[in-house]
Structures are given as structure tokens and as C-alpha cells.
Subunit: 297 residues, 2 copies
């Protein structure tokens, strides 16, 4: 049996009781290690907690070494651990499909991921639109397909969860070209950098999908003991020191109810000002007044 | 300290290791008991698993009896258990705000909820729009505000998660009027009933936010040992016997990629036909061709 087991967000003990029981009986244990990191536990701590050796599975292994992960899992129990939920921000449907093609049984053990735990900022999960990813801009690669998605969400009043890029075990272009297996230190995008990139693209496009004054919530180290939230405008958050990773950002939509706003105000440096900015944004994005249909319709 | 602890979806052992450690040390334990149910565990099983008595908290208790839940939680540890995640489909922000006003510390233990575990149907969570709730229609109450939300999602290509109504500890109108504390047996909406209600409203509106042929995925007993998925059109699913609760439905959006579709085909009775219906729906909802801006813009 192949088990895909979510580890949750932060602590080694964020694994479920059922997940832990399964890990303990597996003959091989892999940890997916390139789309996210467990914040409050190291590999060694996890190995002690499970009483098992863990094989760290990087992107290469998961994308090209699937056969090794699946080896003998029709006869033995193999665990593939994923930070968050196995079908969270990154889905592992490919692994499941491949296993099923080889008649290997698959069981999923779910857990919290940023996609649902983001609700702890106080905004209703009901009112989130599509999620976007913000990647590190480089000198000649500044992808902005997320811009239209934020706009689509905001046109219908929805919040947008922005997932911030992380780079684990990446090679520099030079090292890659020379075939040297030297990896850059891991990098995690900060809230400030994300907001700067947001502002840069809006400045170029001038379409007002959002403005420097649009309200947002910075979420840092979600689920970890040092978790923090900060409510502010995108412009304010471009100057915010968000500390250690991981971070995500929520850009507010018009559908922000009284109780949600009250919750967000706890995290604002200047609650009155934040309230004002939310009201202004809601006014700008409010639906057009209803008009009776004309003959043409 | 007040702890809000997610129980996950089904098994008593779906609680996290950290969650279980906390429950064991709490002096009072409440279980929120009106927005969802834990599928594979009864109250007695939970009490045995925790080694603790559990107080079942119904809507009345949570909405008007908050003070009793919060009592002494500045000095003692109190656990408030929620099926899924504490900030899942129903948020408990009100409870957190009230506690903070009374200077009671609050800690959240996250877990999986339908809002992220729905990814196990194979559709990317990225591409979901706003979530809607389908309530039981009565003779004179057939609310359909969800219709426009589905339409908004589908216009921009997004999937819609439809949460199906559950009625736990509800009084009949007659018993309520007479002040008799007699409760109806619990009711859980089936996939078939949900699809019938969808079709009824579309038939009335004729706006084609979706049609009888729109592809969808029925998700039953998500996370439970008897979990099932069924891909089909809304019309087909209106005849589907989905078995025991709980159920949810996903109405597909245009953004359904090859790998997602491959995954959904596993759950279709007639995969070729389902593929055809998806292609037809994508064609209908495809974006208009790009036109160069005119002088006016």
C-alpha cells in the first residue's frame, strides 16, 4: 500500500494520530521536500518522532524517480509525506495515477494546509476566489499571469490567497550549465517583496485590479508558535518586516462582512485607517446599480 | 487557555497528535455538533479515545451559551472541538473574538476540512472559486442566491464546491410554536436531491449558468473508509444513489486540465461520454476571442 500522508503546517506533532500509526508501520518513508517546508521541525526531529529514517524527496526524485518511490509498494507499506495536505497547494495526483496504473492501492491521510488554515485570519473561506502564486522576479523573467486572476476575483468581490515562492535546492544558471551539483541556499519570498512585485505590475498595467491602497492581510508562519497576522494596505505591507518564513498574503475582496472586518482590525497598526481603506475599496468595487433589461436583451 | 481543535473528517484518530495531547489535559471538552458530524466515530468512541467526557454543543449553546463555554478558561484549559478545521466551512471567529475581549488566550489546532480535502477528487484547489451552500428546499422557501455565485465562478472558468445541507437537532415548526423541545431525526442532503434542486432553479431561470449536461463530481464520505467519487453530468447525478452521508458536489469550471480530467475519468460510469461533456462545456464557456482595443478604450 502507498500512503500519502499530510503533515500539517508546523509541528512534528501536527501529523494525525492515524498518520503517525501508519508511518510507524511503513518500510520506507519519503518526505516531499521542494514545494513547502515544515516550520517547527527538522528532518532529525521528525525521524526521532517517528522512530524511522526519512528519505528527502526533491523535485527530481518526485518527477523522474517515481518508480523508486513506488518500488514494492504492492507488497510493502510505503509512506509519502507531504507538508500540509497531499492534495493541497501542490497536488500529487500524478503519483496516485501512476500507482493505480500499477495496481498499487493508495490511501490518503488528510491534514490542514494553507488552503484551509488561511481561515484563521478571520476571513470566510467561502469568499475566496482562485488562488495565485507569486514567483521571484528575475532580470528577464517577471511573470504576471496572476494579475488577471486577482482582477477576476475582485470584480466579483472575492478574496485572493497569494502563495509566495520558495526555492529549495535550486542551482544557479551557471552551475546548471556546467553540470555542477551545487545548490543555492534556500530562499523564501517575504511579504515586502511580494507587495513590491504586486505594485510594480500594477504600475505598468494601470488597470486598477488593485491599487497601493488596497487592503490585504499578511500571514506569517501559519500554524507555527510564532504565527503572526498583519492587516494593512499593499503599500504599507511593502515596508513590513515579516520575519522568518513561510508567508502568504490575502488581498481582500469587496465581500468583507462586519465580523470579518472586526477580526482583521486586531492585526492593524492603525485600525481606523484600515477600516477607511476597506470602505474605500468596497465603494470602488461595488456592483453597478441594477438596470431593468432593455429591448435588446 | 481556550483551544479550538479541528478533528478532521472521519476517524477518531484523525485528530492530530498535538490536538490529542491538548484534549487529554483539558478540564472541559466541548464538541460543536450542528454544522457537521464526524463520520466514522460516535460520541462514546471519542470519549473512550480521549479518556474524557465530552459535552455536545448544539447551535443554541454555541450561539447563546458562549459564556458557559468560556467559563474559567483564563485559569483552566478548555477544548472546543470542531469537525474539520475550526475555521473551515463554518468559522468560529465569534468565539475567538469573545474570548480575546475577556483576555482569554486562544490557540488553534488546525486539521483537514472539506475545503482542502476536496482536492482528493483530483481537481486543483487553485482553480476553485467561491463555495456555495445548498439548503433543503421547503414548500415556501427555495433560496437560490447560490445560482449567481456558480455563474460568476463558471464565467471565469472556476470550479464550484457545493456544500450540502445537514439538519441536526432541528424542531418542526409546530413543535417550535408550541415550545416543545422535540427534535426531528437528523437529515442529510443527498447528491440526487442537490442536483434536482440545481436543475429546478436552472429550469426557472434559463440563464445557462449550468445545464443538465454540465459535468460535476459527487464526493461522498470524504476521508472515511467508504469514501466514493462519481463523475457525471448534473442530470446523471440527479439519479445517483450516493449512499450514506456526508456529501458534497463540485460543479466543474472550464479550467480543467488534462491530468485533472484523467483523474476524474476514473470515477465516470462512461468515461468517453464524460470526456465529451467536459469538452462541450469548455467550448460553451471558452473566453471570447481577444480583440485589439478600440479608440474608445
Amino acid at each position: 500500500m502507498l500512503y500519502l500522508i499530510g503533515l500539517g503546517l508546523s509541528y512534528s506533532s501536527d501529523i494525525t494520530v492515524r498518520g503517525l500509526e501508519i508511518v510507524k508501520k511503513c518500510s520506507r518513508v519519503y518526505l516531499e521536500h521542494y514545494t513547502s517546508i515544515l516550520m517547527a521541525a527538522s528532518q532529525t526531529e521528525l525521524e526521532e518522532f517517528y522512530g524511522k529514517k526519512i528519505v528527502m524527496a526533491d523535485r527530481e526524485m518526485v518527477e523522474t524517480g517515481l518508480q523508486e518511490i513506488l518500488r514494492d509498494s504492492d507488497k510493502e507499506d510505503v509512506a509519502f509525506l507531504v507538508v500540509g495536505d497531499p492534495f493541497g497547494a501542490t497536488t500529487h495526483t500524478d503519483l496516485v495515477l501512476r500507482a493505480r496504473q500499477q495496481k498499487i492501492d493508495v490511501e490518503i491521510v488528510h491534514n490542514a494546509s494553507v488552503m484551509n488554515a488561511v481561515g484563521s485570519c478571520g476571513l470566510q473561506l467561502y469568499n475566496f476566489g482562485q488562488t495565485v502564486s507569486m514567483v521571484f522576479f528575475t532580470d528577464n523573467w517577471r511573470p504576471d499571469s496572476w494579475y488577471d486572476k486577482i482582477w477576476e476575483n475582485r470584480k466579483i468581490g472575492l478574496h485572493t490567497l497569494v502563495l509566495l515562492d520558495i526555492k529549495v535546492k535550486e542551482q544557479s544558471i551557471e552551475n546548471m550549465a556546467r553540470g555542477r551539483l551545487i545548490y543555492e541556499p534556500p530562499r523564501y519570498m517575504s511579504i515586502a517583496q511580494c507587495c513590491e512585485q504586486l505594485l510594480e505590475i500594477e504600475e505598468g498595467r494601470q488597470s486598477s485590479a488593485y491599487t497601493p491602497e488596497t487592503p490585504a492581510v499578511a500571514i506569517s508562519r501559519l500554524g507555527a508558535p510564532t504565527q503572526t497576522f498583519k492587516s494593512g494596505t499593499i503599500e504599507e505591507l511593502a515596508d513590513y518586516d515579516s520575519g522568518e518564513p513561510l508567508h502568504s498574503l490575502v488581498i481582500l475582496g469587496r465581500q468583507c462582512h462586519e465580523l470579518e472586518l472586526e477580526y482583521l482590525l486586531q492585526f492593524a497598526t492603525d485600525p481606523q485607517n484600515f477600516k477607511l481603506k476597506v470602505a474605500k475599496d468596497q465603494e470602488y468595487f461595488k456592483p453597478e446599480p441594477w438596470r431593468p433589461p432593455t429591448q435588446d436583451n
